[in-house]
């Protein structure tokens, strides 16, 4: 079942001599439950692509259709709500709010939506993420790995249609990297979570079921692995 469709996406920054064509016509689809890795050299446009998919940066041209909704036809407010309910974003540099504790950071999307926190699911998540005894800590009291796990928790709390991760392990050591990737795979297997992960790390890319390669703002290859059971 198609969950994401990208049609002819373009993104241009600047103008005149300083113009940069970050994306020059990208089109592809993703089905529910897929684990996709997007790879490419620095400046290939992968971060730009992810941001546009995540609804945080508007494209210059083209469409992004998530679960049947053309998200860029939505008004800013509606887009925000959509983001809150249907998307989960994980960044390289954790981007937690420093004055909220772990629980508050994780449940932020729900709190913004003024919805009840499903305590069972939260408990389950915390256990899976190994954060049960860090609930009241502030981000500056956590290690890099722990902060990233909080990020994942926040991305998953809403059971989003799409989980988008931009170099989620770029700032972590090998041990933490392994743990994070396992967690992501777990969510993919356990909750059927659709994952799109940007990475420059070949090892991580090989863990995914599908690898899309970008270069100069274009897709140059789109491989599906026969099986991806790790």
């Amino acid at each position: 079942m198609e969950i994401l469709r990208v049609e002819n996406l373009t993104k241009v920054y600047g103008s005149g001599a300083a113009q940069v064509n970050a994306l020059a016509g990208v089109s592809f689809t993703v089905n529910k439950g897929e684990f996709v890795a997007i790879v490419g050299a620095s400046g290939s446009g992968k971060s730009t692509l992810l941001h546009i998919l995540g609804g945080v940066d508007r494209p210059t041209g083209g469409k992004v259709i998530i679960e049947g909704t053309d998200i860029y036809r939505l008004q800013e407010a509606k887009l925000a709500v959509f983001r809150r309910r249907h998307l989960g974003l994980i960044y390289q540099f954790y981007n937690l709010i420093p004055i909220l504790n772990v629980e508050e950071n994780i449940t932020l999307p729900l709190l913004l939506d003024k919805r009840q926190v499903p305590r069972d699911y939260l408990q389950e998540l915390l256990e899976t993420l190994g954060l049960t005894d860090r609930l009241r800590h502030l981000p500056n009291e956590l290690s890099g790995g722990q902060q990233q796990r909080v990020s994942i928790g926040r991305a998953l709390i809403n059971r989003p249609a799409l989980l988008l991760a931009d170099e989620p392990t770029g700032n972590l050591d090998s041990k933490n990297t392994e743990e994070i990737i396992n967690l992501l795979k777990l969510s993919n297997r356990l909750y059927g979570q659709t994952l799109i992960v940007i990475t420059h790390d070949q090892q991580i890319a090989r863990q995914a079921g599908r690898i899309i390669t970008l270069a100069d703002g274009r897709i140059v290859s789109d491989e599906v692995k026969r099986s991806w059971v790790s």
Partner: protein, 856 residues
């Protein structure tokens, strides 16, 4: 509490210093608005009570109302209280000394009238019935009465040509008094001389009016207090018609201070001024508070971006800013109101202490009036201020895109050309100066907001100081330069009485210098070439001295003699020979060729030389009968003798006693009469002791002279000016403080935000001194820009103010140099200190920590 609200609150707690500074800004602003409101309310209250004390506590009076109509008026729903009064009659009073006041005026007041009319009981008690009498001080002194005395009075009415004269008509030489009855009265009390006594044909004495005993056919004056004073101008004519009378009047002073005036001008003027001041405060405050919110939003950009990426709607982000406004307002507004009331309360106490004894008394002093309207106005305006300030920042917060959260730096929006500085800058100022300048260019909006707030402070400070100067300095000059401090004027006494009295006064040991001043008012005609430049350029175009058909200009001339002693001293001072000026054959005068207008503009009225002969004629009689005479200008001087002040627009000639006597012989009777009257101008170390003694001499002689103690008047004026100064400078200080708050907030935050940047510079080798240099340059640029806009603007407004107030001559405009210098110094000081303080914290910082810090 919603997560957004929780976040906002925590942010405020985190950035404690900024939160407090912003709240201080709100408090200052609220305090000022509250202050203005309180002052207005307290002043109005004071003048209202003052009017009641001097003019009485009633709104209007209806005259000659028939007794049977009184009840109708009293029962009218527009009327809250009535006071009945009338003049029973006149009693010839032989002990009186004033020729135009030969009577006692017997007034009847009912109980309400005694309570509401302005009488101050000094001794004894009020009359309880129609056989008891209240008399004023002067009558007590003249008739040598005491409370308890019983006196018999012949009461009658005044007639002119057989017709009865109205009670308030002044004394007519041809009038006739006819006795009606003889009454016996017991004096029960003494009151201070009533204010309304002047000009009346008799000294008012008071007895009780028994309203019940009045006959139907009789008439009485009805004064009233209205239930709704705002309708008074409609109510009174209606009441008059009901009562069948046409004569009525209003107690205008009281009405005016009750906020009711048929003279729209005064009310409008006061309201406009109050409104203008409040608007000024709001503008100044918005500049500060807006900046505070702008900084807050800017600071939290990443956070807002973060929230947006997780799905916060623009509305929720906006709500965060407004919630911040709500919290800060909820704390700041009540504190501001309290501060304002407290501040004014204290100020009024100080003012009372300064003015007590002169302008104010124990009963009539300023008191703090807490008016609910003023509080409401403050809350409304302050809330408005905060709302306006938060508006734009809130909008900006709503527009923050999630990308903000992802960026490592937030400078991607800078365009190269924005921060371009010329090659010259680099050469002149070094890399530090260049960095400083580029930095200011990068943060243009914030930079402008800070500069704007500084400009407002500068403008207000300089213009208010100018206002003080134009409004009050001139009066200061006027009294300040006069060398005598006691003056005795004679309006009523005959020549011999005056002369003997003056001799006695001059003999007093307290007198150090004295001038016996007599003035002959005359006029002369001059040719165009004899008039000074100033007269041609400024006075003639304004319409002074229109030319005669022959093309000559007629000027008034005051010929003054100052007594032998003083004139001799004058001549000595000028180096002139006495013999020249006492010659009765060759009449000579000294021309004072210096005039002073408005207390501060000096000029030379004439262009003549010694030897010129002036032809003068009397001014006190009609032109056809006026005697002409000639006077030669013996010398031209710019000094005046004791007792003579510089002329405003006419001429002054000083002559000796001998010359004056010679002149006087040929004049008409009217002029000679005029010349008999002299005034004494005395200089003394102890003016109050001198005045005491003069008053004693006066009482002993039973004479009527006007004695003035200028020292006292000068002191009073000084006190009043001080009070004005307190209010104005207090206001200016507060406005300036607001400006300082703003500068502090902006610059301090700006510097703190750039920790990483400074650390980076340090890591490539910038020395602490180099850092200092960058900071100094930035302060310098802030200050210069602010002064560049602020000073010309202030000067412009000062000039405009000068024009508006003086409506005279612009060429004597003086720049408020002192204030400009103070202001400039202050601006630089403030900006520099703020930056230095903010950067002091991290001058010693660990470079690596600072570099690593703040990916968030």
């Amino acid at each position: 509490m919603g997560i957004i609200k929780k976040l906002t609150l925590r942010n405020l707690q985190l950035k404690r210093k900024r939160t407090i500074v912003t709240i201080i800004g709100i408090i200052l602003s609220g305090a000022m608005i509250m202050g203005v409101g309180s002052i207005a309310a307290s002043f109005q209250d004071f003048f209202l009570r003052s009017a009641i004390q001097s003019d009485g506590n009633y709104h209007a009076s209806l005259y000659d109302v028939a007794v049977d109509k009184v009840e109708t008026i009293a029962q009218d729903q527009a009327v809250a209280a009535v006071m009945l009064s009338r003049t029973k009659g006149f009693v010839p009073f032989t002990a009186g000394t004033e020729g135009h006041k030969p009577y006692l005026m017997l007034r009847q007041y009912d109980e309400a009238a005694f309570a509401h009319f302005p009488l101050t009981l000094l001794e004894g008690r009020l009359p309880a019935n129609g056989q008891e009498l209240l008399i004023p001080e002067t009558v007590q002194q003249l008739g040598n009465y005491q409370p308890g005395d019983t006196i018999t009075l012949s009461v009658g009415q005044r007639y002119l040509d057989g017709e009865p004269l109205a009670a308030d008509r002044d004394y007519q030489a041809e009038e006739e008094w006819r006795r009606e009855s003889i009454e016996s009265y017991t004096i029960t009390g003494i009151v201070a001389d009533p204010r309304f006594g002047h000009g009346l044909p008799g000294y008012a004495v008071f007895t009780a009016l028994d309203a019940a005993a009045l006959q139907e056919a009789e008439k009485v004056n009805v004064s009233l207090l209205s239930t709704n004073v705002r309708q008074i101008f409609a109510q009174v004519p209606a009441l008059a018609e009901k009562a069948g009378v046409q004569n009525y009047s209003y107690n205008r002073e009281l009405l005016r201070w009750s906020g009711v005036s048929d003279n729209r001008d005064v009310t409008n003027f006061l309201n406009s001024i109050t409104l203008i001041i409040i608007v000024l405060i709001v503008v100044g405050s918005v500049a500060v508070i807006y900046n505070a919110f702008a900084i807050s939003v800017n600071d939290r950009k990443k956070q807002y971006g973060m929230l947006a990426s997780v799905g916060a709607t623009p509305r929720q982000l906006k709500g965060s800013v407004f919630y911040e406004a709500l919290l800060l307002g909820a704390v700041g507004i009540p504190l501001g109101i309290a501060a304002g009331l407290g501040g004014i309360g204290v100020t009024l106490q100080v003012v009372n202490r300064i003015l007590l004894g002169s302008v104010l008394t124990e009963e009539l002093a300023f008191r703090l009036v807490i008016s609910p309207q003023a509080i409401l106005v403050t809350v409304v305006f302050e809330a408005l201020t905060i709302l306006l300030s938060a508006w734009l920042p809130a909008k900006r917060a709503a527009q923050i895109s999630p990308i903000e959260a992802i960026r490592l730096t937030d400078e991607l929006q800078i365009k190269g050309k924005d921060v371009r500085t010329g090659k010259l800058t680099g050469k002149l100022l070094g890399i530090e100066g260049e960095l400083a300048l580029k930095n200011l260019k990068r943060n243009r909006k914030q930079y402008r907001a800070t500069v704007f707030s500084l400009v407002i402070s500068i403008v207000l400070f300089v213009t208010f100081s100018s206002f003080m100067q134009y409004g009050f300095v001139s009066r200061d000059l006027y009294y300040g330069e006069i060398p005598y401090n006691v003056v005795v004027y004679n309006f009523n006494e005959e020549g011999e009485v005056q002369d003997s009295f003056y001799r006695q006064v001059l003999a007093l040991p307290e007198v150090e210098r004295a001038a016996v001043v007599r003035t002959l008012y005359s006029r002369t005609e001059l040719a165009s070439g004899q008039l000074g430049k100033f007269v041609h350029k400024q006075l003639l175009p304004q319409g002074f001295f229109p030319p005669t058909p022959e093309g000559l200009y007629r000027l008034p001339v005051e010929i003054t003699a100052v007594g032998e002693e003083e004139f001799a001293a004058y001549l000595t001072e000028l180096g002139l020979a006495a013999a020249d000026y006492t010659d009765r054959q060759q009449l000579k005068a000294v021309l004072v060729n210096k005039n002073v207008m408005e207390g501060k503009i000096t000029y030379q009225p004439l262009q003549v030389t010694a030897g010129t002969v002036l032809t003068l004629s009397e001014q006190s009689v009609e032109a056809e009968q006026a005697v002409s005479f000639a006077l030669q200008i013996g010398a031209v001087s710019d000094k005046v003798p004791l007792g003579v002040s510089f002329a405003d627009s006419g001429l002054k000639l000083i002559v000796s006693e001998q010359v004056m006597a010679a002149l006087s012989e040929g004049l008409s009777a009217a002029s000679q009469q005029e010349l008999r009257r002299a005034s004494l101008h005395l200089s003394s170390q102890d003016s109050s002791a001198l005045v005491e003694k003069i008053k004693l001499l006066q009482a002993a002689a039973g004479a009527d002279f006007d004695v003035h103690d200028l020292t006292q008047m000068q002191a009073e004026l000084k006190r009043t000016t001080t009070v004005m100064g307190i209010f104005l400078y207090g206001f200016v200080a507060l406005i300036t403080l607001i400006g300082v708050t703003n500068v502090f907030n902006t610059i301090s935050t700006n510097v703190t935000l750039r920790r990483r940047e400074f650390a980076m510079l340090q890591s490539v080798g910038l020395t602490p001194q180099g850092l200092q240099k960058i900071i100094r340059f930035e302060s310098l640029f802030y200050g210069l820009k602010a002064l560049l806009y602020g000073l010309p603007l202030s000067i412009f407004i000062s000039v405009w103010m000068f024009n508006a107030f003086s409506q005279l001559f612009t060429f004597t405009f003086v720049l408020p140099w002192r204030e400009i210098i103070i202001c400039s110094a202050a601006v630089f000081l403030v900006t520099f200190l703020t930056m230095a303080q903010a950067s002091a914290k991290f001058k010693q910082q660990n470079i690596v920590t600072a570099l690593g810090a703040g990916f968030f």
